[in-house]
Symmetry: C2
Subunit: 363 residues, 2 copies
C-alpha cells in the first residue's frame, strides 16, 4: 500500500547534477566555484566548541542577519537566513501560494521550480524566453492573466548566463500582482562595470524577494546556506511562521557570517572566474561552439546539430571531465559548462578541440 498523496505519487523528483566521488574528476557540471572559500570560514569552523554544538542555535540566525543587512545596506528585518537557496524557494511557495494556485516562471529555467510546484499541487505557468534568452515584453501580462501568485526569475539566467537589467525587473515588479522572486544564485559573478544593483528593488517594492546563496559566490556549496532579502512584510511571515523552527544550524550560521565578512576575499574568486569566462567564451567560439554572453560562472555552448552535444558530453565524461547536458527543448544541442580554474579550463578546451576535430562524438 502507498500512503503518499496522489500528486506526489505521480510526480518525478528533481535530478541533481552528478556528484562523482572521484577527486581526480574535472567537475564543470554543477557550477561550483573552483576556488576555496575565504580563510576566515575555516577559522570559524575550527573555533566551534563542543558546548556550541550541544545547545540549540539562535532560531533566527540573528548575528548572520545583522551582518548580511550591513553588507547590503538593509535592516535585519529585511533578511531571512535559509538552509540554502532551495529552502527559500520552498518557503516562498508555502507562504505566498495557496495549494493549487499557479506559479510562474520563464522557460527554460532552473528545473527545481516545477518540482516544488508539483509538491504544492500548483500548476506552472511557463512563458517561453525569446531566442536571445531575454524575457518577452508581455511576460507580466501572462502571469497576471493566469492569476499567478508567485513568479520565479533566475537572474543571471540559468542556463544561458543572460542578465536582465534592474530597470526591467523594476518594471516587472510594478506590473505583477503577485510576488516576484528573483533567484540571484549567480549574481556575484556579474561584471561590476555594469553597476547592476538589485538591492534597490527591495527598498522600492513590497513584492520583491531576492534569493542569495553562499554556494557559488563564497565556494560553500557543501554548507547549504542562503538568504532572502525583501520588504519586512514579505520576510516576516517566513521568519516567524513558515520556516522550520531552527532551520539553520550553528556551524552554518557561524561560517556564513564569516564568509560575508570576508567579501573582499570572495571577490577575488569572482574576478578570476570572470576573467576565465571571457577567455573560455572566446576559445569555444573559435572552435565552433559559440556561447551567448554570460554574466554567471558558467557558459552555455551551442554544439551544433542535435546529438552532437550529447556525444561531446559523453566523450568528455569518459575523459573524466564532467559538464552538464539537459535533455530538454532548446537545450538538447547545447552544453552548460562551469568556469573552472585556468588549468581545468585548459584541460576542457584541449579535450574539446580534439573531440570536435575527431569523429568520436558523432560530428
Amino acid at each position: 500500500m502507498r500512503y503518499e498523496r496522489a500528486n506526489i505519487q505521480a510526480m518525478a523528483g528533481y535530478v541533481p547534477g552528478e556528484q562523482p566521488g572521484d577527486a581526480q574528476v574535472i567537475k564543470l557540471n554543477t557550477n561550483e566555484n573552483p576556488y576555496p572559500p575565504p580563510q576566515a570560514v575555516m577559522e570559524a569552523l575550527h573555533s566551534i566548541t563542543p558546548d556550541t554544538l550541544r545547545r540549540y542555535p539562535p532560531p533566527m540566525a540573528d548575528e548572520f542577519r545583522r551582518v548580511a543587512a550591513a553588507v547590503h545596506g538593509l535592516g535585519a528585518e529585511n533578511v531571512l537566513a535559509t538552509n540554502a537557496g532551495d529552502e527559500l524557494l520552498r518557503l516562498a511557495i508555502t507562504t505566498f501560494v495557496e495549494p493549487g494556485q499557479p506559479i510562474g516562471t520563464a522557460e527554460p529555467s532552473y528545473s527545481l521550480y516545477p518540482v516544488l510546484a508539483e509538491i504544492h499541487g500548483s500548476p506552472v505557468v511557463r512563458v517561453e524566453l525569446q531566442q536571445d534568452w531575454d524575457l518577452p515584453a508581455d511576460f507580466s501580462r501572462w502571469m497576471n492573466d493566469a492569476g499567478v501568485r508567485l513568479t520565479f526569475i533566475v537572474n543571471p539566467h540559468a542556463p544561458s548566463g543572460k542578465l536582465v537589467s534592474v530597470d526591467r525587473l523594476a518594471k516587472i515588479a510594478a506590473e505583477l500582482r503577485g510576488v516576484l522572486l528573483v533567484d540571484e544564485a549567480y549574481i556575484d559573478f556579474v561584471d561590476p562595470d555594469l553597476r547592476h544593483d538589485s538591492i534597490e528593488l527591495v527598498r522600492r517594492f513590497e513584492n520583491v524577494l531576492l534569493l542569495r546563496t553562499l554556494s557559488k559566490g563564497y565556494s560553500l556549496a557543501g554548507l547549504r546556506f542562503g538568504y532572502g532579502l525583501g520588504a519586512a512584510s514579505l520576510i516576516e511571515p517566513m521568519l516567524t511562521k513558515t520556516k522550520d523552527s531552527y532551520n539553520t544550524d550553528i556551524i552554518a550560521q557561524r561560517l556564513a557570517t564569516a564568509a560575508l565578512q570576508s567579501r573582499d576575499d570572495a571577490k577575488r574568486s569572482w574576478q578570476a572566474v570572470r576573467s576565465e569566462r571571457t577567455r573560455v567564451t572566446e576559445a569555444l567560439a573559435a572552435m565552433g561552439l559559440p556561447c551567448p554572453p554570460s554574466q554567471s560562472n558558467f557558459v552555455l555552448a551551442a554544439a551544433g546539430p542535435t546529438g552532437r552535444a550529447r556525444g561531446i558530453y559523453e566523450s568528455l565524461k569518459r575523459r573524466n571531465i564532467y559538464v552538464r547536458y539537459f535533455d530538454q527543448d532548446r537545450l538538447r544541442d547545447k552544453l552548460r559548462i562551469t568556469i573552472g580554474t585556468p588549468e581545468q579550463n585548459n584541460a576542457l578546451l584541449a579535450a574539446l578541440k580534439e573531440l570536435t576535430q575527431s569523429a568520436e562524438c558523432g560530428v
Copy 2:
C-alpha cells in the same frame, strides 16, 4: 499590502524555548543534553577541508544512511536523513496529507505539531490524554473516524516523560488507516531494562515512521540533524521527491555519522541522565513537587495551585535558572525541568527548596 496566504496571516508561529546568550545561566528549559557530544564528532569537524565545503554534498547523505541502517539493523532504504527532526515532521505532512485533510495528535503534546498543520491548512484532531498521561483506549478510533491521514505520537511523551509500550504502538499502527509517526526525540533516555525496541515496528508495519534526532541523545542540538526510519515505501517519496534537493549539509552529515559511530560514548551520557533523573524526581517529590515517572531527559513537576508554577518559574529565572513553563490546559500548574549535570541539578534543587519554603512565588 500583505502577500501571505490567509491561513498564514491568521496563525501564530511556533515559540521556541528561551535561548539566553549568557553562558552563566543554568539552562534546564529546552531538554539539551548536559554532557558534551562524543569526541569523534569534534574530530570529524576538524577534518573538514576547504574543498569539502566548496562542493555539493551527497544529496541523500548515503554514508550516514548506511551507518544508521547498520546501527538499527535495517537497510539504507529504511533511512531518511533530515535537517533535524522538525524537517521530518514537515515532510511527513507534505508527503502524506492533502492540504485540508486532518492531522491527529494527543493533547497536550509537542506544540509544533499544530503549527505545522496550520501552515498546511489542515485541521488538528486532538484526543485528550488520560489523567495518567496514557493514550485513551479508543485513540485510533477517534483518528480513523475523523479521516486522519497522519497521526503524531511523541514517545516518550513530552512534556510528561510517559512511555507507551511497543505492543501498544503496534496495536495502534494496526488499527490506524493512515500513517503513524512516532516522534522518538527522547528515546535514548529510556531505561534499557525495559527492553523497549521500537525498530520492530518498522519491520512489521508499512505505515509506521519513527523520528530520531541527534539533538538530545548525542548532545548535538546545535547541528540540526535527525532521521526517519520506516518501510522503504514510506521513505522513498520523501527521499526522492519532497525533501529539499540537498537537505543536509556535508558538515552535518559527517558529524552525525561520527556521532552514531560513537554510540557507546553517547550511552554514558544517557546513563548519567537516567541516574540523575531518579535522584531529581525523588528530591522534587520530597519537597512537594511530584513528577510522573519519566523515561525522558526531563521531568514534569506538579507545583500545586495554579499561579504557583509560574511564580516558581519566574523566581528561578531571576536566579539564572531556566526551566520551561507552558501557559496551557493541564500544564499551568506544572514545570518541565530538563535533567542537567549533578551540579546544575543541585543548584536547581537548592533554589527550589528555598523558594517553596518562602513566600516569593505566591505560595
